[in-house]
């Protein structure tokens, strides 16, 4: 209420002043006219005072109303805060600064700011040749990355893999994949050798990078890499990258209201994790492997979630039926982790399978077969629909000792489809 009191004080002050003035004037002996005039003035003043008081009162009422409104708002805010409404605010951004932190010294910046930009900025002065690089590499890097940077075991491969980026399993190395040489210098300098990062001298790093370039056929053996010629080296894959284009290629398309009913005719299982059996302890594989003896059900739009007899009607047509080939293609997903077919197919964990029907067993060029396969090969045995079906149904049962660690295809229809699919690829 302090606000309303403030409003009253000046109004009363004006009235007293006006009355006092009028009284003082009227006590002198002036003429009646003067008195009349004064009376009129007093009357006018009184009217003015009355109006002022009325105005002051109105203003006071308005102030009281505003005050009440403010009280009410304050109470609402308090209630809202109690009930958890949003009174949060981001950390304030101030005009100036907090003045925390101290100036970094040049020596400190030099010690930590060692990154190298694609245009070569950040490189220290120095140089190193391929031969020195080989020495340092064999000494400090080869135990993990191999003498020729070809990688040991599961450790990263640093060389080779050219022209594999469009293959099934691209081999991404410093040579085949990395778009900038700066990345190699920067990474080796700050993070390698693994377990002793930051111990290489600039010249050693130049020499190692020169050697890795040499291992990737990018330079000759007399090459010397230095901060001067660094940006002249051309990397194979310098044009191989595009900036994230998901917004254009994917987001626009995947924003439609999705289907809720009858979204597919039927649904079948095309691949199962337990067949691969690569889940570590704690995963769900062991239970499922023991428990699953039945074929997987097919779900269909009409009798959703009802197990039905799988496409048992499929005839053995010898692979001319395109629907069968298509079914085989989808069943082949369980083989893809190890086998390739089609153009550019090459040997992976398992041999490439082009033209396998009618082909001698264990005869794909450049693949190292198990003993049992080598024996079958020596005996001149040939793959036909029958022995292949038996092998696919139970690899270890039909060819004891095979390297194909795969549980087998349970569904006869899938086997028929697979054979049709394999038949569609000529050698």
């Amino acid at each position: 209420m302090s606000k309303s009191l403030n409003l009253f004080v000046p109004a009363i002050g004006v009235t007293t002043l006006a009355l006092g003035l009028a009284y003082g004037l009227s006590s002198r002996d002036y003429g009646a006219q003067t008195i009349e005039t004064l009376e009129t003035r007093v009357q006018q003043t009184e009217e003015n005072v009355a109006r002022a008081i009325a105005e002051a009162q109105a203003a006071a009422e308005e102030a009281a109303r505003l005050q009440a409104e403010r009280d009410q708002l304050e109470q609402l805010a308090a209630e809202a805060a109690m009930s958890g409404s949003d009174l949060t605010a981001p950390a304030p951004v101030i005009e100036g600064k907090y003045g925390l932190g101290r100036t970094a010294l040049p020596e400190e910046i030099a010690a930590w700011d060692v990154d190298v930009l694609p245009d070569g900025r950040g490189l220290p002065v120095g140089q190193g040749d391929v031969f020195t690089g080989e020495e340092v590499f064999v000494d400090q890097c080869a135990s993990c990355h191999g003498d020729f940077a070809e990688g040991v075991g599961n450790w990263p491969v640093l060389a080779g893999g050219f022209d594999t980026l469009a293959n099934e399993d691209p081999v991404k190395t410093v040579g085949s994949y990395w778009p900038h040489l700066s990345t190699a210098w920067d990474y080796i300098n700050r993070s390698m050798p693994f377990g002793a990062a930051g111990t290489l001298t600039p010249d050693e790093t130049y020499a190692i990078v020169a050697y890795i370039l040499y291992s990737n056929d990018l330079v000759d053996d007399d090459f010397v890499l230095s901060n001067e010629n660094f940006t002249e080296v051309e990397m194979y894959n310098s044009d191989g990258f595009v900036v994230d284009d998901r917004p254009e290629l994917e987001y626009a398309e995947w924003q439609a209201e999705p289907c809720m009913v009858n979204c597919k005719e039927t649904v079948e299982i095309t691949m199962r994790a337990t067949f691969l059996d690569v889940t570590p302890e704690g995963g769900g594989d062991s239970v499922m492997n023991d428990a699953t003896t039945s074929d997987s059900p097919v779900f269909s739009a009409s009798a959703s979630a009802e197990p039905t007899e799988e496409s048992a009607a499929v005839e053995e047509t010898g692979g001319v039926d395109p629907a069968l080939v298509a079914a085989g293609e989808s069943a082949f997903r369980q083989c893809k982790s190890c086998h390739q077919v089609g153009e550019n197919a090459s040997n992976r964990t398992g041999p490439a399978l082009n033209g396998i029907l009618g082909h001698t067993i264990g005869a794909v060029d450049g693949f190292r077969y198990s003993d049992v396969f080598q024996e079958a090969n020596a005996a001149g045995e040939v793959w036909d629909a029958e022995n292949l079906a038996a092998f696919l149904a139970d690899p270890r049962g039909s060819m004891a000792g095979t390297k194909m660690s795969f549980r087998g295809v349970r569904d006869e229809a899938d086997i028929t489809a697979l054979i049709a699919y394999l038949q569609s690829f000529e050698e």
Binding site: A91, V93, Y98, L100, R102, T103, E108, I109, W112, D113, D115, L117, G153, W155, L165, N167, P170, H180, T183, Y187, S191, F194, A197, G198, G240, F241, V242, V243, D244, R246, L249, E250, Y251, Q255, A256, P258, C259, M260, V261, N262, K264, V267, E268, I269, T270, M271, R272, A273, T279, G283, G284, V287, M288, S296, P297, A301, S304, A305, K336, S337
Partner: protein, 424 residues
């Protein structure tokens, strides 16, 4: 509309039939025989338990010892440069306890004290600065819940169903409440006048560990919601998550959340470090690779039932539960299918999810014991609908490693056992 389970007399009878048939393990005792757990005086109701201070910092009770992070050994050459997985199948709600939140190290987790901690801001700034941990604590801070997902989460599933468990297929994720200082406050302390036009500028962030794991972040993001965090779920960060200070880059791939953050450099181009060229890029079928794919698109997974969480109670009431998230903002809806994508129902959200944070969803059903092909599909505030595996493969081929946000399928058989599968 949500399908709310209404217990009917028939399902109740069916449920009790299952119990009588003995298919329900460890259920309450059958009708007629009084339950000794109730009728007999139990030790714990008679003797006293352990006193306070028995464990000054408590761990989960020993009966929960299987709810732990797990590693897939064949994935990497050494556990020092490796990853493990959050047991998301066994958790509920949305907050991941720090002790079981996945770890990813490029050169092992290091011990760095608050006293030895230094953060340098340099490059195109008015005055390069060094902050101590104590300095950071004096700047205004914020609290936010965010998910952190490794770009390689679900990466092993590109070519086919491989790992049998939600922990292994989707466990490279955690969700914590962070306390930290906005990166923009620190950049403002150093002053950005020297950087001039900020629209084409970057910050390069690196850690204090041997790998340093440097990454380039566009200035726009750096000034937006990036946090320099020192607390998670109310307590100090764990060593394995970057104690004492890590970067939080909301909605963006986990590799950018640099741990043991030691330097932020303002630059005029991306550094193109090893982690943003050799790794965290994806090659497509034509051999061309995509880079700077920072945002984690909308994704979801049913955490139970799942291969590690089979249905053990037989027919009747069943809670289907899972997680959904999007690096583009809030999750607005999650649909669940029980028949491999033929029909979908909209699930119930545990609570409206925060932006760029995990959202819990539930579908409460009356399971009749028939096999299911369970799938979930997340939709975020941009209207983006989580794609199927085939949709993703059609766009990107099978050589990709990162950013696999496909719809996951679990096959649940009549016995309630679940398996990771792919469907047509």
């Amino acid at each position: 509309m949500d399908e709310i389970f209404k217990p009917s007399r028939r399902s109740f009878l069916r449920g009790s039939a299952a119990i009588a048939a003995g298919t329900v393990a460890g259920g309450a005792a059958a009708q007629g025989t009084p339950d000794p757990l109730i009728t007999e005086l139990q030790d714990w109701a008679s003797y006293t338990g352990v006193g306070v201070d028995e464990t000054p910092y408590g761990l989960p009770i020993r009966f929960e010892s299987d709810v732990v992070r797990r590693n897939v050994e064949w994935l990497t050459a050494s556990p020092i440069s490796s990853i493990n997985f959050t047991p998301i199948h066994a958790l509920d709600g949305t907050i991941t306890p720090q002790g079981c939140a996945f770890e990813r190290h490029h050169s092992g987790a290091i011990e760095l004290t608050k006293e030895d901690y230094r953060l340098m801001i340099n490059g195109l700034v008015d005055e390069p600065l060094v902050f101590t941990y104590a300095d950071l604590e004096r700047l205004p801070r914020e609290n936010h819940v965010y998910f952190c997902e490794c770009a390689a989460n679900t990466g092993m599933e590109w070519a086919g169903a491989q790992l049998n468990g939600a922990q292994f297929t989707h466990g490279m994720i955690h969700n914590m409440e962070y306390t930290g200082v906005p990166l923009r406050t620190l950049l403002n302390e150093a002053g950005l006048e020297a950087a001039g036009d900020l629209s084409d500028k970057w910050v390069y962030v690196e850690g204090a560990d041997a790998s340093s794991n440097g990454r380039s972040i566009p200035m726009e993001k750096a000034l937006d919601d990036v946090l320099v965090a020192f607390k998670a779920n109310g307590e100090a960060l764990r060593m394995e998550h970057g104690y004492p200070v890590r970067l939080v880059v909301p909605g963006w791939e986990g590799n950018m959340w640099v741990k043991w953050l030691r330097r932020v450099q303002v630059t005029d181009m991306a550094v193109e470090s090893r982690e943003e060229t050799s790794k965290y890029t994806d090659v497509y079928e034509n051999g061309i690779a995509r880079k700077w794919t920072w945002v984690m698109d909308a994704k979801s997974v049913i955490t139970s039932p799942s291969p590690q969480m089979p249905i053990t109670h037989g027919q009747g009431p069943l809670v289907i539960s899972g997680l959904a998230w999007s690096g583009h903002g809030q999750i607005t809806r999650v649909d669940v299918s029980k028949d491999g994508g033929i029909t979908w129902e909209t699930a119930r959200l545990g609570k409206q999810g925060d932006t760029k944070a995990l959202t819990r969803f539930y579908l409460d059903i009356n399971w009749d014991g028939s096999p299911m092909l369970l799938q979930s599909r997340a939709i975020d505030e941009t209207g983006y609908v989580q794609p199927t595996k085939d949709q993703l493969r059609e766009k990107r081929g099978e050589n990709a490693v990162y950013h696999n946000n496909c719809i996951q399928t679990w096959f649940v058989n009549e016995e309630g056992i679940a398996e990771n599968v792919e469907v047509s």
